[in-house]
């Protein structure tokens, strides 16, 4: 009986930490997006935009390396893209955390499932980089 009680407490703790992690990820990344957006607008407000045709070759920040280079020179759009990158990594960080918590619970089946999901995302990351 007492072990069941302990396990429930454990589950509850994990849920609270997971929730906090997700919320913090969203708040931090959206703040970065807002800061970047403000810098971007200060410098580019009167530039003319055109998104009528998809031109992937014009995209300046389509790799993590390019984003970091842009951020180091304080380009507004690079900072926005960095915030978006952080946002993308928020649910991925959630998976990493879940793997750890299942490891503590000794639920190895779900540790494996967590790694499978991470592997799928990593493969798609590398697939994208190759192009």
């Amino acid at each position: 009986m007492s072990t069941i009680g302990k396990e429930n407490l454990n589950d509850k703790d994990i849920q609270v930490i997971l929730g906090t992690l997700l919320r913090a990820g969203v708040i931090i990344s959206m703040s970065i997006v807002l800061i970047g957006g403000a810098i971007f607008l200060i410098h580019n407000s009167w530039t003319i935009t055109d998104y009528k045709v998809f031109k992937p070759e014009l995209s300046k920040f389509s790799s993590i390396l390019a984003i970091f280079k842009g951020v180091s020179t304080f380009q507004g759009d690079a900072i926005v893209q960095f915030g978006i990158l952080m946002l993308i990594f928020t649910p991925i960080a959630r998976i990493v955390f879940a793997i750890f918590s299942f490891l503590i619970e000794r639920d190895y089946l779900y540790v494996l499932i967590g790694f499978i999901i991470l592997a799928i995302i990593t493969i798609s990351l590398n697939g994208g980089l190759a192009h």
Binding site: D11, I14, Q15, V16, L18, G19, T20, L22, R23, V26, S29, M30, V33, G36, G37, F40, L41, N44, S45, W46, T47, I48, T49, Y51, K52, V53, F54, K55, P56, L58, S59, S62, S63, G76, D77, A78, V80, Q81, I84, L85, L87, I88, T90, P91, R94, I95, A98, Y110, I113, G114, I116, I117, I120, I121, S124, L125, G127, G128, L129, H131
Partner: protein, 277 residues
């Protein structure tokens, strides 16, 4: 159009999309994409890239609250994420090679389907028959708290639900939406989960699913900061306010009106897609 004007228009539109999307349960993504493509003439590839970012923001934000309440079934979520992430990556890769007109037509069809799904009366399929061998192997059966009482439930037809999730993930990656309507079919109708568990768990899964396809989009240049910034800020703000109003508003009439508007938008997207072929 100047960057400033473009940003302000999208910000307002995305705010409305997020607000209505959360009030009606359709989600912000399905509204922002027609708005960008039909009203502002943005190429659908950029619209999808921006929308998927807003899906991550809204779903992670609301999942945070649900997870803390203990309604979300994290095991079901993670188990089905295998299917949705595989689907999402495949969908996102296909989307890059697909003509914008085909995407628009497919999008219109899914939009009509989602609108019908929000109007359909939900039938409770829950069961306590915990004999499904897959559900037992993956420890999917669970219980959720409601007003201090624990409600147990059992999961059925796991392979069927898994396949449906593969499909939902593919559409999510292809169209840049959360595809909540399809996820709920998989969980409510096929796997027999209670509504509360299925909606919150589907929300929980959306972030990872969207992140898997967003990674592909980012590297293909489909996520443009100039569009993604106002879209995700606007949708997230709208959705947050919407979820606060939702607790005390009656949304039946709103759902009806909104479904009509959405079907109208969908028909326009299909028409535009067909005439552009």
């Amino acid at each position: 159009m100047s960057v400033l004007l473009f940003t302000i228009i999208i910000l307002l539109g995305a705010f409305l999309a997020g607000l209505l999307g959360s009030l009606t349960g359709l989600g912000g993504g399905v509204i922002i994409i027609p708005l960008l493509t039909l009203a502002l003439g943005v190429d659908i590839h950029y619209a999808i890239g921006a929308s998927i970012v807003s899906v991550i923001a809204t779903s992670s934000g609301s999942a945070a609250a649900y997870v803390k309440e203990g309604i979300t079934n994290i095991r079901i979520g993670m188990f089905l994420e295998i299917a949705t992430t595989i689907g999402a990556v495949c969908g996102a890769i296909v989307a890059v090679y697909l003509n914008a007109n085909y995407i628009a037509i497919l999008f219109g069809c899914i939009l009509i389907f989602s609108a019908i799904m929000t109007l359909k009366k939900k039938v409770d399929h829950t069961t306590l028959d915990n004999t499904d061998k897959w559900a037992n192997f993956f420890k999917l059966n669970g219980s959720y708290p409601d007003k201090g009482i624990d409600h147990p439930y059992a999961v059925k037809h796991v392979p069927g639900g898994f396949l449906m999730m593969l499909f939902a993930g593919t559409l999510s990656g292809l169209l840049g939406i959360g595809s909540g309507a399809l996820k709920v079919i998989a969980m409510d109708n096929i796997m027999r989960l209670p509504f509360k568990v299925s909606t919150t768990t589907s929300n929980f899964m959306m972030g990872v699913t969207a992140a898997a396809s967003a990674v592909v989009y980012l590297h293909r240049g489909q996520i443009d900061p100039g569009i993604a910034m106002p879209v995700c800020v606007g949708v997230l703000t709208g959705a947050t306010i919407g979820s606060k109003i939702l607790l005390r508003a009656k949304t039946d009439k709103l759902k009806m009106i909104f479904a009509v508007v959405v079907v109208f938008l969908a028909l326009q997207m299909i028409y535009k897609g067909i005439s552009g072929l």
